[in-house]
């Protein structure tokens, strides 16, 4: 690729767009007449650059003339120049004629009209094979003079294509950041409990705004009347505020990693600086840029060290974040290589920024989705748990308290009902002896309960309590199903073979039955609640059971029980009087009958 040497560049047979970089003719602190020729220049300096980087360290504030002679043009080709933003005002002449200007350059600060634009200017068709480009440049506004990108030159279609490409890439980054911002801000407002989408949305918006302030100056394209100075301030502002925002965002992400004081210091100083960029004088905040950049660099190093820590600790999203960071750094390195002409290409750092934002977006979406999935899974588990534990709740019992919704059941709820109470005692005999081992007993007992509980349910009975060796059953008296149920249970037990380690068990079932008025209620305290039946009738039933227990396979029922269950209708049973008993501690007597199946 041809380069500018001694203020001259030869483009013979080179029909692509090229940057006019190299040693331009240069005259410091003077506006050389546009009509002058290359021979009138004595000094040659590199451009694009700022003249304060030259050997004699000129003050960045000042004015100068740059010139280049382009030779070897093909008269048949339409050429064009693409000017980047020039700091801070410039007028360009071709062969002595004003050709293009950005603001109005001047020898003093007051008369300078600073402006920046990126413009493609086509050269008028002419038959000459060379042209002389002379630029009057002044800088009383920016911290550096000149340009960071070269002025590009070449056949119109080539330059236009290159420009379109770069603008396209910038537009893509800009739009991506805008849309990320919109989507995540919307996401935040739909789910305000998590603040990270909002931070990302705002960060993304700031970076999008920043893109419009540099390179192609979309800001002025979008808001032509907003003015150059506002754009200039916004460029500085977005950097400062984005740093504050990113630090806070990082803190909210990994609060235990980052130190609050450091976060506060960085975000605080960034906010102060950002306010200065908006409202302070330009010369003041541009001078403060260097210290701010040091803070920026240190913050970047600090954040990288934190990111490494986060990866070490395998924190959520740290890997994605680091990939984003590495991508950003690699675009930065790429751009440094490009700007030093080590490799060819276009600047990619905007893509790096978009990449980071994408990475953070990915992480946030991942976190949200994980939270969602986790919640769903927890719900599933909890649902499963509830279904299991509901078995501990005597749902049928609660129905008699008038409660269908478990969560509405309160301590002390009660109701009075006419109920048949049955204590069924199971003696489990192995070889005619009661089982000594409690564990074996428990297992055998469980088998019996499993067998008889469907019988209880089908007879609308309630298993109120499980005892070691027995159960307490309740039957609503009006159903008249208690007697039938007990006989069926006895039949079922007789007809089923129960084993304990291959040894056939003999189950002897005795029952005491009584019918009476009972109080059903809930007892206990807030932590542990149970249902209970409080009634003299329960005591009577219990006493009858004690009597029945003295014999094997004995079913004893009170007169009240038989009456309420309509015993006379029973065909397969024999009812014989067992005796009249006065129960301990009371005068009234109870007539007891023995029931036996025929």
């Amino acid at each position: 690729m041809p380069a500018v040497k001694e203020g001259q560049i030869d483009v013979t047979n080179y029909n692509h767009a090229l940057g006019l970089s190299g040693k331009w003719a240069f005259a410091a602190m003077q506006f050389v007449s546009p009509k002058a020729s290359l021979s009138s220049f004595e000094r040659f300096e590199s451009f694009p650059a700022s003249w304060d980087s030259y050997e004699d360290r000129l003050s960045p504030k000042g004015y100068a003339t740059y010139a280049v002679k382009i030779v070897g043009l093909d008269p048949k080709i339409d050429y064009a120049l693409w000017f980047p933003g020039l700091s801070s005002a410039a007028t360009c002449y071709i062969d002595g004629e004003v050709f293009y200007s950005q603001g109005k350059p001047s020898g003093n600060k007051e008369d300078e009209q600073a402006y920046k634009a990126s413009s493609l200017v086509s050269l008028p068709k002419q038959d000459k094979t060379e042209l002389f480009l002379l630029i009057h440049l002044s800088n009383f506004f920016d911290i550096h003079s000149g340009a960071s990108h070269p002025i590009r030159f070449g056949p119109l279609l080539e330059v236009s294509r290159l420009r379109n490409r770069i603008r396209t890439l910038l537009t893509i980054s800009f739009a991506a950041l805008i849309i990320v911002s919109v989507l995540f801000i919307v996401l935040f407002f739909f789910k305000t409990s998590d603040k990270t989408p909002l931070w990302l949305g705002l960060l993304s918006l700031l970076l999008a705004l920043r893109i419009t302030c540099y390179d192609e100056y979309f800001f002025l394209m979008l808001f032509p009347s907003a003015g150059f100075e506002l754009m200039f301030r916004l460029g500085y502002f977005t950097l400062a505020i984005a740093l504050a925002e990113f630090t806070i965002f990082f803190f909210s992400l990994y609060p235990f990693l980052s130190k609050k004081i450091i976060t506060d210091f960085i975000s605080g100083s960034s906010i102060v600086y950002s306010l200065l960029t908006l409202f302070g004088p330009v010369s003041f905040f541009t001078k403060l840029l260097i210290p701010f950049q040091i803070i920026l660099l240190l913050t970047a190093l600090w954040l990288i060290s934190l990111a490494i820590k986060a990866i070490r600790l395998k924190l959520n999203g740290s890997l994605i974040l680091t990939f984003g960071f590495l991508f950003f750094i690699s675009t930065l390195v790429h751009d440094i290589l490009v700007s030093n002409r080590i490799i060819n290409g276009i600047f990619m750092v905007q893509f790096g920024i978009t990449g980071i934002i994408y990475a953070i977006g990915l992480m946030i979406i991942k976190n949200i989705s994980i939270a969602f999935n986790k919640q769903e899974k927890l719900n599933d588990n909890l649902n499963q748990l509830n279904k299991t534990l509901e078995l501990f709740v005597p749902v049928r019992f609660l129905k008699y308290l008038g409660k269908t919704d478990i969560s509405k059941v309160l301590l002390g709820d009660n109701s009075q009902q006419q109920m048949s109470i049955v204590f069924l005692n199971l003696k489990i005999l192995n070889n005619g002896k009661e089982i000594d081992d409690q564990m074996q007993l428990f297992n055998a007992f469980n088998k019996v309960i499993e067998t008889i509980s469907p019988v209880v349910i089908s007879n609308e009975g309630i298993i109120d309590k499980f005892f070691a060796g027995g159960i307490m059953l309740l039957f609503p008296a009006e159903k008249r199903s208690a007697m039938h149920c007990i006989l069926e249970i006895i039949k079922t037990i007789k007809n089923t073979k129960f084993y304990n380690n291959d040894a056939l068990l003999k189950i002897s079932a005795s029952a005491g039955m009584h019918t009476g008025n009972v109080v059903l209620g809930t007892l206990g305290d807030a932590e542990r609640m149970d249902t209970t039946v409080v009634s003299d009738a329960v005591n009577i039933a219990s006493r009858i059971t004690e009597l029945a227990d003295k014999k094997n396979d004995c079913l004893l029922a009170s007169n009240a029980f038989l009456k309420s269950n309509g015993y006379q209708k029973s065909v397969n049973t024999k009812i014989t009087p067992f005796g009249r008993f006065s129960l301990r501690g009371r005068s009234a007597t109870v007539d007891i009958y023995e029931i036996s199946s025929i």
Binding site: L120, S122, K125, L156, L157, R165, R167, T168, I172, A175, I178, I179, V182, V186, F189, F190, K191, T192, M221, L222, I365, I368, S369, F372, N373, L378, N383, L385, N386, L389, E390, L391, F392, V393, I406, S407, V409, N414, Q438, M439, N446, I449, E450, I457, I463, K465, F466, A468, G469, V519, G521, G524, D525, R528, T532, V534, S535, D536, V538, G585
Partner: protein
């Protein structure tokens, strides 16, 4: 809540407005949309006069010279009677075929002499050479007289030319079509100052790139959502829809895809562009199917989408001209799925399915912009294509719907969770959690009847003396509330000593003390103390509780069936503890323990104990002790004072020295006539004699 909602929608609207604002500003910045800059002008009989210095950009439509099957270089070669509309296709003139070659000619007058102008052409199919003032200035592809000679290409370049000394330019377009659907162009010719034309191009490309990038970002966003939540398939459909519309925005109009990939071969470019059409319809149907599965049955979805699927294969596999020829009929056919889709959206709105209004709004916007675009191309409006803006707004509305759906289902899950937790808390009250912990379960949901574990522990049984008499005087409500206030007193004591109440049975309860004898003793003592305190403040309702404690192996187990479960303590001790409690009534003492428990005490001297007697229960001998530390002060002192004598008396009795025993018990009776035990033994010694 209302304010929060307002802030929410305000912010959402603001974010949206921001995007639309950027697009509108860009749209307005386009010189083509500025009536003061751009003039639409009609070419008549191959001639156009631009002699209106006020404008810097001209949009030219009208009749051009035309020559079929000829490539002219000079405007004079054209017949002065053969004209054709531009933009347009030669099929309007030549009925024979869409394939062939021809020349279009136009004389442009009224330009400034010797000045550089720019012109811009839209898509010309399928190759075009541009000749100005007899010189070839540019060639899009390379037109040819046969399929082999032609090199097709898509492009919309800006070309510079210089007017001649009379301010005239003769423009000839040599167009051939062997690869695409029709020969000709569909966009008007633009002529004007290079600056304005570049500005117009910048603006159009900005919008194209913005649309492309915005839609790709949405693809990324919703694709990622799908990636982490595979359950919600509509994310993927929507991501694909955004991707396809985004790519389509890049394929046509300003052909920006070529800016990024300058060396993209035409055959591939053609296929990418063409594929966006059937894919777009397919994905649109797929999206509707996944969000409204009930409204768009799978069968209809497959019937509607099958032709597009087929067409996609044709585009990929067959030569370009075949897919190009089929395009028109496919476009006509596409009306059916689109109408079907709109019907479904309207149906969804009628059924008030959440979010459907966004969908309807989005599609209405897209339709409006589509109509505007058609009107622009029909010369009714002046301006550049707005379809991309419409598409962005449409898809952003759908994005909003998708996000709203997502957050709504998230919210629902959270609400459901609260519901489940409330239920769980209610259920948990009935679950003897501590027992289950002893069963060694980490997750309660794994509990099954039959689960059990064996421990050695103290078992306590306690009830209220003559509660039945007490309860007879009360109604059911006060019985229960009395018991609950009683338990409010007792349960915390048991719990704080590590005890577990396994069963309430009216006024009685059974408690287990896994920590051992010490905590059971402590608990018993505290219970009596608490009741004594209570009695002091409720003189009319004095309660006395009896307590029996035993120590031994306990099997904890879950009994029941799949209908009802409960945790039960299996142990001989439960019965013996109850028996001890019954004995405590007989002897009128507060707490009765046995030797098994005594052995478990670290420091038996700490407790005030008195041996009672050996009593047989369940064929087993139990030696019982009375714990009298919580007796009334007077009684306690008397018992303590006589303890030595009592023990001597008991020793005499046990060594069958009945005489001495009787003597000593008699003395004890004199000293403390209220002692039931002395009376019990006096009676016994009397019998023994």
């Amino acid at each position: 809540m209302k304010l929060k909602n307002f802030i929410k929608w305000f912010s959402v609207a603001l974010a949206f407005a921001c995007v639309i604002f950027i697009l509108l500003i860009q749209f307005r910045a386009n010189p083509l949309n500025n009536k003061n800059i751009t003039n639409s002008i009609k070419a008549i009989d191959g001639c156009v006069n631009l002699n209106t210095s006020k404008y810097s950009l001209f949009k030219i439509q009208g009749s051009w010279y035309f020559a079929w099957k000829a490539f002219y270089n000079n405007i004079e070669e054209f017949s002065t009677s053969n004209f054709i509309d531009f933009p347009g296709a030669w099929t309007s003139k030549v009925e024979t075929s869409t394939n062939g070659w021809a020349s279009w000619g136009l004389t442009v007058k009224g330009l400034k002499a010797n000045k550089t102008y720019a012109l811009s052409l839209g898509q010309t199919l399928s190759a075009c050479r541009i000749i100005i003032n007899r010189e070839t200035v540019y060639s899009i592809g390379s037109p040819g007289k046969s399929r082999e000679q032609e090199k097709p290409k898509w492009g919309a370049p800006i070309i510079l030319f210089k007017s001649d000394s009379q301010g005239r330019a003769d423009l000839i377009l040599q167009i051939s079509n062997w690869h695409d659907r029709e020969g000709g162009s569909n966009t008007p010719l633009l002529i004007g100052s290079p600056d304005s034309l570049f500005k117009a191009q910048d603006s159009q490309k900005f919008i194209d790139s913005f649309a492309f990038s915005a839609l790709l970002t949405m693809t990324f966003f919703f694709g990622t959502l799908y990636l982490f939540r595979k359950k919600d398939f509509y994310f993927l459909w929507f991501a694909a829809l955004c991707l396809i519309v985004g790519i389509r925005a890049y394929c046509y109009d300003t052909f920006t895809l070529l800016d990024i990939f300058p060396f993209l071969p035409w055959a591939l470019y053609f296929r990418i562009g063409y594929l966006t059409f059937p894919f777009g319809i397919l994905v649109f149907l797929g999206f509707l199917n996944s969000i409204y599965p009930n409204l768009l049955p799978k069968k209809i979805f497959f019937i509607l989408s099958a032709p597009f699927f087929l067409y996609s294969i044709i585009i990929c596999v067959f030569p370009a001209q075949i897919s190009a020829k089929l395009l028109t009929s496919m476009q006509v056919y596409s009306v059916i799925p689109v109408i079907w889709g709109i019907v479904i959206i309207i149906k969804a709105c009628l059924q008030k399915i959440p979010g459907c209004w966004w969908l309807l709004f989005g599609f209405s916007v897209a339709t409006v912009f589509f109509i505007i675009d058609i009107l622009i191309s029909m010369w009714i409006f002046n301006g550049a294509s707005t379809i991309h803006i419409g598409m962005i707004i449409c898809l952003m509305c759908i994005a909003l719907m998708v996000i709203e759906n997502y957050s709504a289902s998230f919210l629902k899950t959270s609400l459901f969770r609260t519901e489940l937790e409330t239920l769980n808390n209610s259920i948990m009250r009935f679950v003897p959690q501590k027992i289950l912990n002893l069963l060694g379960h980490t997750t309660l949901s794994e509990l099954r009847p039959g689960d059990s574990a064996e421990y050695e522990m103290a078992v306590m049984f306690s009830d209220i003396r003559s509660f039945t008499t007490l309860a007879e005087k009360m109604d059911s409500n006060s019985v229960i509330s009395f018991l609950n206030s009683y338990y409010a007193l007792i349960v915390p004591i048991v719990r704080s000593n590590g005890g577990i109440i396994v069963k309430y049975a009216g006024d009685g309860f059974t408690a287990l003390f896994p920590d051992g004898a010490e905590s059971a003793m402590k608990s018993a003592s505290e219970i009596h103390k608490a009741i004594n305190r209570h009695n002091k403040s409720h003189i009319d309702k004095n309660i006395i509780a009896g307590i029996g404690i035993d120590f031994g192996p306990v099997v904890l187990g879950v009994v029941g069936s799949q209908d009802r479960m409960d945790a039960v303590a299996f142990s001989d001790c439960t019965a013996t503890a109850a028996f001890f409690d019954a004995q405590s009534k007989k002897f009128k003492v507060k707490t009765i323990i046995n030797t098994a428990l005594l052995r478990g005490l670290k420091d038996p001297q700490k407790w005030l104990l008195r041996p009672i007697d050996t009593i047989i229960y369940n064929n087993q001998d139990h030696f019982l002790f009375e714990v009298f530390s919580e007796n009334q002060e007077k009684q306690k002192e008397a018992k303590l004072k006589t303890l030595g004598k009592y023990e001597r008396a008991l020793f005499a009795w046990q060594t069958e020295d009945y005489k001495k025993a009787k003597q000593l018990f008699y003395e004890l009776y004199i000293e403390n006539p209220d002692d039931i035990l002395t009376k019990y033994y006096l009676k016994k010694t009397g019998l023994a004699k």
